[in-house]
Symmetry: C2
Subunit: 208 residues, 2 copies
DNA sequence: GCTCGAACTGCACCTATGGTACAGTATACC
DNA sequence: GGTATACTGTACCATAGGTGCAGTTCGAGC
């Protein structure tokens, strides 16, 4: 299900998106100049506008690509976790551990979340890009909420909590953890936050 | 200790900073044009450059102002919490509740954190601004770590946790909660995340 | 071997914006 | 009356996003 790195040479469009993603996460969208992009990829300005109608069209493609990659990764992790344990709570805890491990291994320091990056440059994007970003957040909510629903059926929580906001907590910790990681240039910060979420879930639902 | 809104008319410099903060949080730094700023405040471009050497100088002033306001707010909250209870754990829990309430009351939806906004527009700022942002995060770590140190002396945690990352968790949830609030246009998201942090602290340290 | 569409190049041109430089001015305080 | 503060006005430059359009290269299908 997970294709890691296909060998066929990336298309110009794909290379533009890849470079744009790196630049947007480091400099912000407005500071990411088309001129730098085409210089990096080795095409002309006309070539760029052949692939993308304008800069916002690039942003839209960037968001879509990011959200799809994201979903694929999470699907992979929690499918594996479901294989390893049938119980909803323990399977979820395993999934969170796998998630933390993945965030610890892949990058030097996490390059960032496109959906979060958009939020602080809101008005620089059109409505479609903004709504894609919000959809991404709601997908995470739905995804984690599904796990939590299965857990509460079997394990009563020690404190009464709102399950939507408990699901959102994972997004908040991921986005916040990424910001801290980037600010402090410490790649351990993000996985540590995921493990705190895991602790909280354990303390909330695991019987004594 | 807390001066809410002084009545004397704000100086031009102050009005520039106030407007710039709003614009940076909504559109990003690069998209915040000096032209719009001076139009909003009613001065000329020369007037702007009288107050700020260049755009990065504005960014530096913005960060400093934001961090100072931030510290003042947190000082106020936890000083009040210390007044209300002597015990380190309960005083901290009270402080977190006050913090959540403040985040619920003040704004329609939280306008954003300048320090976090900088992180996703990293290379658009000079080294000084970036380092101010990181200092802000470390100040939060130190601040919350102090509370946690006092708590662990009296209450052994149920799970062995790293106290620095537990202190960082508050920053992560605040920054992540703000992003979610802004993305979903829901002002309840941020206070809900603070209350989850409070729950986690309770479950970790409060004796059964 | 020809046609056609995809994936570009090249050039011309317009506008907005950040930024520099510098001379001049209104007002308040000393 | 002098000086500092807080500006205005004018002129000018480089870079960037963006538009428009004509021309080119190249591989696949007929």
């Amino acid at each position: 299900m997970l294709e890691s790195a296909s060998k066929k040479p990336a298309s110009t469009r794909e290379r533009l998106l890849e470079l744009a993603e790196q630049m947007v996460l480091r400099k912000g969208f407005a500071s990411t100049s088309i001129e730098e992009l085409i210089a990096g990829v080795g095409i002309t300005k006309s070539g760029f506008f052949y692939h993308f109608k304008d800069k916002n069209d690039l942003a839209r493609a960037l968001m879509q690509r990011y959200l799809e990659d994201n979903k694929r990764q999470l699907d992979g992790i929690f499918a594996r976790a479901a294989e390893l344990h049938e119980d909803p709570l323990h399977s979820f805890l395993i999934g969170l551990k796998l998630f933390a491990e993945l965030m610890n291994s892949v990058h030097d320091v996490h390059p960032g979340c496109i959906a979060a990056a958009v939020i602080y440059q809101d008005q620089a994007f059109d409505a479609e890009v903004r709504s894609l970003s919000a959809e991404g957040m709601l997908d995470w909510r739905k995804r984690f909420r599904t796990h939590l629903d299965r857990i509460v059926k079997r394990y009563p929580p020690k404190i009464d909590v709102d399950l939507d906001s408990l699901a959102d907590m994972m997004s908040a910790l991921a986005d916040g953890g990424i910001i801290l990681s980037k600010a402090l240039k410490d790649r351990t910060t993000l996985p540590a936050q995921i493990m705190h979420y895991r602790n909280y879930i354990k303390l909330l639902f695991e019987p004594a």
